[in-house]
Symmetry: C2
Subunit: 456 residues, 2 copies
């Protein structure tokens, strides 16, 4: 069994089934891979050259060793190519094509397993986009025009569905949400979420692991790995409803065996964060990757807009949180810095006439107020008295979690990107901000429990 | 009592307390108003001219009649200015300043009511942003750099909180979500949500009325108006929690008297759509403004991405919906047009290899399938086989409601704007799409009930 590192450290990459046609997987993958600092070996017996590069008739004709082979051939031709990988002792092979167990073609998939058995070659897929590591490698067949790639960050994303990954990568790039790695496990004939979760739990770039799964490769093993790791792990387990599990069966051939209630209980017990959809998966991963857990439930809301402060307050109880009751001392300090029209009760409403200085002073007062466990900063940039530089003050304020909400158009949008660069948890809606606080509080509760019963 | 039309038809507008300083309300309002085709009369005894325009020492010095006066003076100076408005028989006065009942200064607000009593002058505010009618008028003191204005559309937005309106206007402009009008009612010393709701229920540009309220001016009257109208009305009633209602009290001085349970029951009975936050308010208004109601609960999901199809299916039951069971005939027709790898079971998954033609054919088949009451179209633009022109086919397909979900970065973002131009309900997340379907189904149920018991 080869190591996982090899998959992410691959320098010498063969593309088996390279095409001159960008519309074909082999053509697009070659084009995408060319953007990275890799030694590429296009393989296709039909061509001597592809885009000014020497094209090899077969894998064995490549003089150097190959770390990774991306097999872009149709399903029926995959076994032959994989045999060549084994012979050449290629460390990792990524099989892009579908047409295996997900459409009931189990025999063909078994054949792949047979081929690599006992060999030095590990297999990712079949039926996968492969891997994308920002600034390092990209084996996907997605055009960069239509599917933007997110930059470097601290979330590792492992998905069983290529399309889900595509949508997530593209939409995250819009907000500059960064990833340490993206891995599509596809039909996971060999490498599965367990080995990868284990790997990322030890990867220093990764602060949170996010998974999209339709079934578990081995649920018991997964829980063992989760119990060993210190990092937060978030799972979007699709097919939680009866109808959804039937849909999962026809999608990746996954038998979503357990009822949602059972999964929920097990997740809670092991501190696995449950996400219900694509938005929650990334929102929660961000919160946990960027912020310390929240130990407590008392929230101070800092706002410049009364209405949103009330909307946020209305949600608190639903998410197991409450308004911090500010001490007289805290209110006195707020009174000293706030405008006469401001409200110094929680939610602290600085009004739309606020300035950067007002906001910073109020934030510092709330950070020091021990009666508040976390701050929800409803920071709006429509007032001219504040600007985007404001958020730099949030960096390194580790006394307590601060979750920001900023809603607006272009100006706000650019600030939201900046929050990501600074790795500050920020959201474009009030409820999403509150859900992030909820998840941080759940994490805090779990860690406290774990600390108190270490032998569990 | 003057008519409401005058407020929206105002051509001759006086700005009482115009300033040369853009940082002051009177300066910014004057600047914003200059963008519109209006006859403006700046009023300020300190200046003879403001930006090359004649400035009047007082309202009475204006030779012509004045339709609307925007009073940009501090609270204490408002009564004097309002008296002048009454004398000059100005039809409507907007009072921007806060410092009245919302901070406990009830006497000063009573004085305003006294002044207009029996006169021809109607009052909007105090403590309000005033009105913004796309392409017609803008009395707000918001800079266009920081707070973009949405374009023309079919939603009328009435809010008690200026900051909520600001955030909503700005964020809606990002997606090109249009409005027929925006009205800030502020402390509603005179004009309130009832009169305005009644007005917009007869306004032909308005297809849905959205309200942000912290309390009702007159709940009984409101329900009477709602019962009379044919248009959908969506209410975000903030202060629904105990803590939230306390926060509302210190924000607009509103006593959020009723428990949320009571409000919920009454809303349901009268067909008022309840929104919990800023996202739901606009999402629901869009769905109801752009789409016919949904009569039934059987949803056909059309997708090019398996995972998102399953996530959507998982949510169906939660929102009182179910997967349509496709007839053999429908599946046969889908089989004829779909790729071999596609799933012709519901969710219908055309896979990422789809083309515009595949998608259009499948949509048409599902539109004709009587076993489906509505379509959830998970339309993703990451695959190169489809493009943004696709959504034009959705226009005028009135056979059944179609709600679209498109998730991604720049390319998708531009398509989302196009959906708005075409007035097609589309959302950037799966759950938001499902909630829109839920709201359309609730509307269908309500209308059916109303039809069956017309005397209720």
């Amino acid at each position: 069994m080869g190591n996982m590192e090899g998959l992410f450290d691959a320098r010498r990459v063969a593309i088996i089934g390279t095409s001159r046609d960008r519309g074909k997987a082999g053509g697009m993958i070659f084009e995408n891979l060319k953007r990275y600092d890799l030694e590429l070996f296009p393989v296709n017996p039909k061509f001597e050259k592809i885009r000014d590069r020497r094209c090899y008739p077969s894998l064995k004709d490549i003089e150097s060793d190959v770390d990774l082979a991306v097999i872009c051939l149709p399903a029926q031709m995959v076994p032959g190519a994989l045999e060549e990988c084994v012979k050449k002792r290629v460390k990792h092979a990524v099989v892009i094509a579908g047409g295996f167990s997900e459409i009931g073609n189990k025999g063909l998939e078994e054949k792949l397993k047979e081929i690599i058995k006992g060999s030095e070659t590990r297999l990712l897929g079949p039926n996968t986009l492969g891997i994308y590591i920002p600034e390092v490698i990209d084996t996907t067949f997605l055009s960069v025009e239509r599917c933007k790639r997110p930059g470097k960050g601290s979330i590792a994303l492992i998905t069983q569905s290529g399309a889900t990954a595509t949508v997530l990568m593209d939409s995250c790039s819009l907000y500059n949400i960064g990833f340490s790695a993206f891995i599509g496990i596809g039909n996971r004939a060999d490498i599965n979420e367990n080995e990868l979760s284990d790997y990322f739990s030890n990867d220093k770039e990764t602060k949170a692991i996010a998974l999209y799964l339709e079934s578990f490769a081995d649920a018991k093993e997964f829980l063992k790995i989760v119990d060993r790791m210190d990092k937060p792990i978030i799972v979007l387990k699709a097919g939680r409803s009866k109808e959804g599990s039937r849909a999962a069966l026809s999608h990746t051939g996954s038998l979503a065996e357990s009822s949602d209630k059972v999964v929920e209980g097990v997740f809670k017990q092991h501190g696995i964060v449950k996400a219900l959809d694509e938005v929650e998966l990334i929102d929660y991963a961000k919160a946990l990757a960027y912020s310390e857990p929240l130990y407590g439930d008392r929230i101070a809301i800092l706002t410049s807009a009364g209405g949103p402060g009330i909307i946020a307050t209305d949600y608190l109880q639903e998410y197991g949180l409450c308004l911090a009751k500010l001490k007289e001392e805290t209110k006195k300090r707020l009174k000293e810095i706030a405008l006469p029209s401001a409200s110094i009760e929680n939610p602290v409403d600085l009004t739309a006439s606020l300035t950067n200085e007002d906001w910073k002073s109020a934030l510092n007062i709330l950070l020091k107020a021990e009666e508040a466990d976390a701050i929800l900063a409803l920071t709006f940039f429509q007032p001219l008295g504040v600007d985007g530089t404001l958020i730099e003050t949030l960096k390194g304020k580790a006394q307590k979690p601060i979750v920001s909400v900023s809603i607006g158009s272009e100006y706000t949008f650019n600030v939201l990107k900046k929050y990501e660069e600074l790795k500050l948890p920020a959201y474009p809606s009030i409820e999403r901000g509150l859900k992030a606080l909820y998840i941080l509080a759940e994490r805090g509760k779990f860690l406290r429990k774990k600390l108190n019963s270490p032998n569990e």
